[in-house]
Symmetry: C2
Subunit: 339 residues, 2 copies
């Protein structure tokens, strides 16, 4: 399988690391082998090689500061821009792992269309395109006879979408309810130890969980974007942010935390998705509920189903290799279906 990779930050590097370290195992166990034939970054160079780039050398180069440090080899081409790679690279799959723009879909959205119309499957870690244009993208994929997969956009590589769409096929999911933003869950967990919101946020930033501008996490927009993806994927319902109730955790005080604790409850930022509505807001969850025990940066989703009752999945919600595994999961799914 030939992969064109857009974006080579922690997630793209996570995928390259997996392909570097697990190649033999993946071939032996699943008959799967993949070559990265192109990599594009916004400001750190880009590389194309029809015979495949070496993942270890890619990682060495980017860690040295730029893909320009990748050694020259016969057939190597440099400085293709992303549009050209998405359209013209000789690849089976476009993997989009550049930063998400939840307002416009970012440049990634056009790259998705370019890839699909030029005969490539699309696998996304970037939430932007699915949040902004799910229905249009699925239609474009269907018209092209290609697939669009995006496991890595919700709960990193923890297979929340594959569980819902494949393993729970036929169980009739009526609701998803989850903790799908690790930063806010980390902050809430720290606040339970007595820390103030500001101190907990500063700690999350120091640990690299929260961005310098924490708005997207703290005010619920990251969770809301993922909830939009769940609404589209589970129920075929695309929603704009204006149609949703979104409330973050900025208003929660130590007193709120203490009151919940006295009542045997715990504040969690809960995204809830049904056929009819999508909400993100802090909720007091009884300690006995499976979501109450999900602490720190861990994520979890409970699917309520007609045939099976509640099914809860708990796992990593962030991390380069963890999210890179989400991309690998989609690539293996394409491989199982003969892509």
């Amino acid at each position: 399988m030939k992969i064109a990779l857009i974006g080579f930050g922690t997630v793209g590097q996570g995928l390259a690391q997996i392909l570097r370290d697990q190649a033999a195992q993946l071939r032996a166990q699943y008959g799967f082998s993949a070559e990265i034939v192109a990599v594009a970054t916004r400001s750190r160079g880009s590389l194309v090689h029809p015979a495949g780039l070496n993942p270890a050398a890619l990682l060495d180069a980017i860690r040295a500061g730029s893909l320009d440090a990748y050694p020259d080899t016969p057939g190597l081409q440099r400085a293709w821009h992303s549009e050209r790679i998405a359209r013209d690279a000789d690849a089976d799959v476009l993997v989009e792992a550049s930063p998400s723009d939840l307002d416009t879909g970012g440049p990634a959205l056009d790259l998705c269309y370019a890839a699909l119309t030029s005969g490539k499957h699309v696998v996304l870690a970037n939430k932007g395109p699915v949040v902004v244009a799910y229905a249009e993208l699925m239609a474009a994929a269907q018209a092209a006879g290609k697939r669009l997969l995006f496991e890595a956009t919700v709960m990193a590589g923890t297979p929340s979408l594959r569980l819902a769409l494949e393993a729970l096929a036929g169980a009739e999911i009526t609701r998803a309810r989850g903790i799908i933003n690790g930063t806010t869950n980390y902050i809430l967990t720290q606040m339970e130890t007595g820390m103030s919101f500001d101190d907990a946020l500063a700690q999350a930033q120091a640990l690299g969980y929260a961005e310098a501008d924490p708005t997207a996490d703290v005010d619920g927009w990251d969770a809301a974007g993922k909830a939009r993806i769940l609404s589209a994927a589970l129920f075929g319902r695309t929603r704009r942010f204006e149609e949703m109730t979104v409330e973050g955790i900025r208003g929660l005080t130590q007193a709120d935390i203490a009151h919940a604790s006295e009542a045997g409850e715990r504040w969690k930022l809960i995204a809830e998705v049904t056929r009819d509505a999508v909400t993100v807001r802090p909720v007091r969850v009884p300690l006995a509920h499976p979501l109450a025990g999900v602490s720190g940066g861990t994520n979890a989703i409970t699917y309520t189903t007609a045939l099976l009752g509640d099914v809860t999945l708990v796992g990593a919600g962030a991390g380069g290799v963890q999210t890179g595994f989400g991309l690998l999961g989609d690539l293996l799914a394409l491989h199982r279906c003969g892509a």
Copy 2:
């Protein structure tokens, strides 16, 4: 898809109920339609109809006491024995949902071979054949170019095996650790409210959770059978009971429960499966661990993976419709692969 069904107790009836109630939905959403062309019971009759039996009429008949009450229709045949159905029924899949015999595999084991060699896929809710002869059955399936699936044998229909084998493909599972017997978990949960072991067991029996002879559940053998299935499916390691450490919950006293509680811990009957060993025994789990919050008849498995860390799945561990959904999940998986 034409189904021959062996065993028509709560699980077989659960599947028939799903096919009765969800037929239109399954056809619309997945293009899936299934006909039950044969049903066999040990002592309540059997029916064969090449054009398909009516699920509602099957359920009415069995609830009236016997399949003999199923109305006569042109083409209907009665009283085929199971062996003949497994071998000669014109079916795509044999579904085996008769009671498990973990020592010999029971009559079900021979039925599996008969079905595979006569060109049928096999889908099991019956643990016996996989516990006793996993490697031989997989070899027979491969030789026949057919598939052997058994999602319903562990955690009822909660997709514990599909999660591990498909959705976590490539993540490299190194350990499974779980609560996979609902009866003992129910008893332990009741004991935490102050009930004695004997009273909690009596209550579980009154509610239909525990059998009249509770040995298989209480002494850990049901969990051990499921752990053998996990060992085979995850690691390709088949094990005999004699090679495993199996300890039930019969020895736990109110004092043990109280001591754990004082230490912020909770007794759980934990099955642990690695490449090297399989154990089932009561373990004191810290309250903060995801498995500690799993109460009553609910089941859970934590898979430890190299790439993704811990992934925990929580859901139903018993029930007719819930286990019937496990069968449906396997049938849909066959359908996705073009069976």
